[in-house]
Amino acid sequence: MTRALGWLATLGLIGGLVMGFGVAPREVTQGNVQRIMYLHVPTAWVAYLAFGIVFFASIGYLWTRSDAADRLARASAEAGVIFTGVTITAGSIWGKPTWGTWWTWDARLTSAAIMFVMYLGYLLLRGIIEEPEQAARYSAVLGIVAALDVPLVHFSVYWWRTLHQPPTVMKPGPVNMPPAILAALLVNVVAFTLLYTYFVVKRVNTLRREHEVLA
């Protein structure tokens, strides 16, 4: 079952590569650099999905005290941090040729960066507490705080950057997407969601076996 999911994700990623490099046309103004979008946008979506699942799994844990919910929260947070890292790195590489800088305190960049450090802190807390039940309880509370903080961070950073600075030409990508580009993007979104699911299932299984061995 897990293996099938892994193969499905692999197929999806291959399909995504074919769509991104073969089917989707070369973007007129940015050229081939724009193809980073097929990595950048899906990983960003998966990161938000992952942290959303951490939120619900955390509530689930506090509600039922089921170890399965805790393992799901942990696995999802780990995957989410990885995907946020990929999003930021890909965005940074994309930013250099299009905006002329690796990093700018643009609203969405900043909120992604804050989300990244917030969940790094979550993993740090998990790593530092040795007692598993205490680690699960504390990180569930932190998972709820962090998830509810994300919208606040988003709004504050958006106002911080946009009300006092007029929007610059810092919006990459075409505004109206041609169908081929949109299709390539969607294939990649599905592929990366499958990859995320595979990571989480695999990690949850490992955590469960770890638990069984130690118990």
């Binding site: 507490i129 040795e130 504390y138 509370v141 932190l142 509810l148």
Partner: protein, 225 residues
């Protein structure tokens, strides 16, 4: 009414201890003064330049002294092995949270008022006309900072490397509060009407409500081992 009374007992206990030892308040006031010196030394004596970064410096000072003060919320319980006492206290544990939060608010507002007065003297700022607006912004910001700070202090009290973990967890979560308060303080000090920063004040109020609600709802899980 029983609930309010239980919260008050926690406040009263902490205030009595602090009133007799004065260790946290005295050290924090001294720390604030040192921060002021540090800012002066690091940024040079140019008053014009200092004035332009004043709101940021002010909140940096509040947050740094807040980190030290809030981190000590449960030091008394931990050092005197009274953690189980808190856990065994009858009734809803959120009363303990609200009591601790009220005590922290009082402590932080005292330190912040002092720091503000020191800034006014050393940087030659006239805060008189801005005082009502400033009080609102400082109040809203401090509630947000203390609400999450109190919760995280409980979370890190029993954990290894707590001095390190506490700021690392608290700072990213406090970004909205920091941005909102700095922007609103800037506007208030420039004499702009509060309406100009209404969106920031609403954000701060929303953050306060969310943070206090999370604290009340989840504190039980932190305390109850």
């Amino acid at each position: 009414m029983r609930f309010a009374r239980r919260a008050w007992i926690v406040v009263w206990k902490d205030l009595t201890i602090e009133g007799r030892s004065k260790e946290t308040l005295n050290a924090l006031l001294f720390f604030s003064l040192l921060l002021l010196f540090l800012f002066q030394f690091a940024l040079g004596p140019d008053r014009e330049r200092l004035a332009s970064v004043l709101p940021g410096l002010l909140w940096l000072g509040f947050i740094l002294s807040g980190l030290l003060g809030l981190g000590r919320t449960f030091v008394g319980e931990r050092e005197n092995d009274c953690w189980d006492g808190l856990r065994l206290a009858p009734g809803d544990k959120s009363a303990i949270y609200l009591g601790k939060l009220a005590g922290n608010l009082l402590l932080m507002l005292l330190v912040e008022t002092t720091l503000l007065a020191l800034f006014a003297v050393f940087f030659n700022v006239d805060i008189g006309p801005a005082a009502p607006g400033l009080a609102l912004v400082v109040g809203l910001g401090t509630i947000g900072l203390a609400a999450i700070g109190t919760l995280f202090a409980a979370m890190t009290a029993q954990v290894r490397a707590r001095e390190l973990l506490f700021p690392v967890l608290l700072l990213p979560v406090q970004v909205p509060v920091l941005l909102g308060t700095v922007k609103a303080t800037e506007a208030v000090l420039l004499g702009e009407p509060l309406g100009a920063v209404a969106h920031w004040l609403r954000l701060l109020a929303a953050a306060d409500v969310v943070y206090v609600a999370i604290g009340v709802l989840t504190f039980d899980f932190i305390l109850d081992g």
